[in-house]
Amino acid sequence: MSPTVSASGLSLRYGATRALDDVSLRLSPGVTGLLGPNGAGKTTLLRVLATAVPADRGAFTVLGHDPGTARGRQEVRRRLGYLPQTPGFHPDFTAFEFVDYVAILKELTDRAARHREVRRVLDEVGLGDVRGKRIRKLSGGMRQRVALAAALAGDPAFLVLDEPTVGLDPEQRMRFRELIATAGEGRTVLLSTHQTEDVAMLCHRVVVLAGGTVRFDGTPAELTARAAGRVWSSEGRDPGALAGWRTGLGTFRNVGDPPPGADLLEPTLEDGYLLTLDGAAAEVTA
């Protein structure tokens, strides 16, 4: 499939901090996960791709339009859904009114069609029953879903979600995964998260960002494969391990370079992620 988003050489500084340093990537339909430690530049990259903040350098296109021009940015925004890391609300609006407000801002001007669309996205995120409630009365998880509904309104072709599952309970998170997976059918979804299992379950691609640069770009299986032969079990904490912890079974699970003859274990995506972050050996495989 042809890429919906392609970016090359994106750089952004805040004062002396390099938030993004020469980031290049291509996104195609489906869910792409963006992993990285705190301060890696994930939110900045998402804000740049969502046209909320312009980059210092570099070029990118979204759905064939260049957001670096005012006209191109408008075109991108017409096809964009953005869920910020800390969404804000007008607490006196009802859920319906708030999503309706955002839908108007997305230039959905036909009243009947818009109201249908707002009801549809609210149903989709499971808020059909509380759409008449004021946002100040909603719980944290519900508010998060209102923000997702606002992002989904207008059927965007490109969806940017910044840590949407933070602060949700396991059941809500499962529900969110379902929503995002559905949203990823036919759309390009970029999902920033700290949860490696979200990525393992949802994403067909994963990008690891650290220190403002791309450390890995490939499939989750490829990321997991990086840890193949580098996870082992031992009786005590292995001094040569990058990380090791006692599991519930009483043995230690170690990640790093195993000693000869070690009892190797099946790696997970998280092991691959940890090793990628640690490696000065990180290379972009895309």
């Binding site: 969502a50 070029a59 408008q74 953005y82 609300f89 407000y101 997305k106 230039e107 959905l108 036909d110």
Partner: protein, 236 residues
């Protein structure tokens, strides 16, 4: 996804979609305007304007013009909160431009503000009333400075609720300006002072500058204009 056709903009001219969006936006935006701050500013402003009349005694032109200046500053302090929008992050990347959203807020507030100002001017007894046009320029400058400050904070710092900081800076400016502006600018004169006309020439200049700054700050840059990028444009 069964949503083809809801977006009026699909193939119809963009301008029409934008106009439609603006009209439908009036009601929800009117609800997001921080009316409490504006009403409080207006009410205290009216109180200030009414003090000379309420005091009973003879009202001097000095008292009249300063009552109106205090009223204008109150109104401007209220207006500093006009661009406060807790949902700014959520609506950071929507196609309706920021300048239109800001302009809509201002347009909603302007008619009541004009009526309010007329009332404030009329509250000052006629014998002490300064020339209405000139003193309106002063009030408009204060208002424009407040809006320019708020728009600047939104554009530069991405602030959700710039009001508090802008109001504080505006207040500091308002208190220090009469003390620190050079006397030959004659900004804070009393009607009848020979420098009144000159001073109001300066006020008009200030108003134009503030309006220009506000207009510039309302736009949303598509590219960052830093010294570095000017020197070496993007490498692509």
């Amino acid at each position: 996804m069964p949503v083809t056709g809801i977006r009026a903009a699909g193939d119809t001219p963009v301008r029409e979609a934008r106009r439609g969006a603006l009209l439908t936006l009036v009601r929800p935006v009117a609800r997001t305007v921080p009316w409490r701050a504006l009403v409080a500013g207006g009410a205290l402003g009216l109180l200030a304007a009414a003090v000379p009349r309420l005091s009973g005694g003879e009202v001097t032109p000095w008292a009249g013009v300063n009552a109106l200046r205090a009223a204008a500053l109150c109104c401007a302090l209220g207006a500093a909160f006009l661009l406060d929008d807790p949902a700014r992050q959520t609506t950071a990347a929507v196609p309706v431009r920021r300048v239109l959203r800001h302009a809509l807020r201002c347009a909603l507030v302007l008619p009541p503000a004009a009526a309010w100002w007329t009332a404030a001017v009329l509250l000052v007894p006629e014998e002490a009333r300064p020339p209405a046009g000139d003193v309106t320029v002063e009030a408009a400058t204060a208002l424009a400075l407040a809006l320019a400050g708020a728009a600047f904070a939104v554009r530069r710092l991405g602030a959700d609720r710039p009001g508090q900081g802008v109001a504080a800076s505006l207040l500091v400016t308002g208190v220090l300006a009469p003390l620190l502006t050079p006397a030959d600018w004659a900004l804070f004169t009393v009607p009848g002072d020979p420098r009144w006309a000159d001073g109001h020439g300066h006020w008009r200049l200030l108003l134009c500058a503030a309006l220009l700054a506000a207009a510039v700050c309302c736009t949303e840059p598509a590219r960052r204009r830093t010294l570095r990028t000017l020197r070496s444009p993007s490498r692509t």
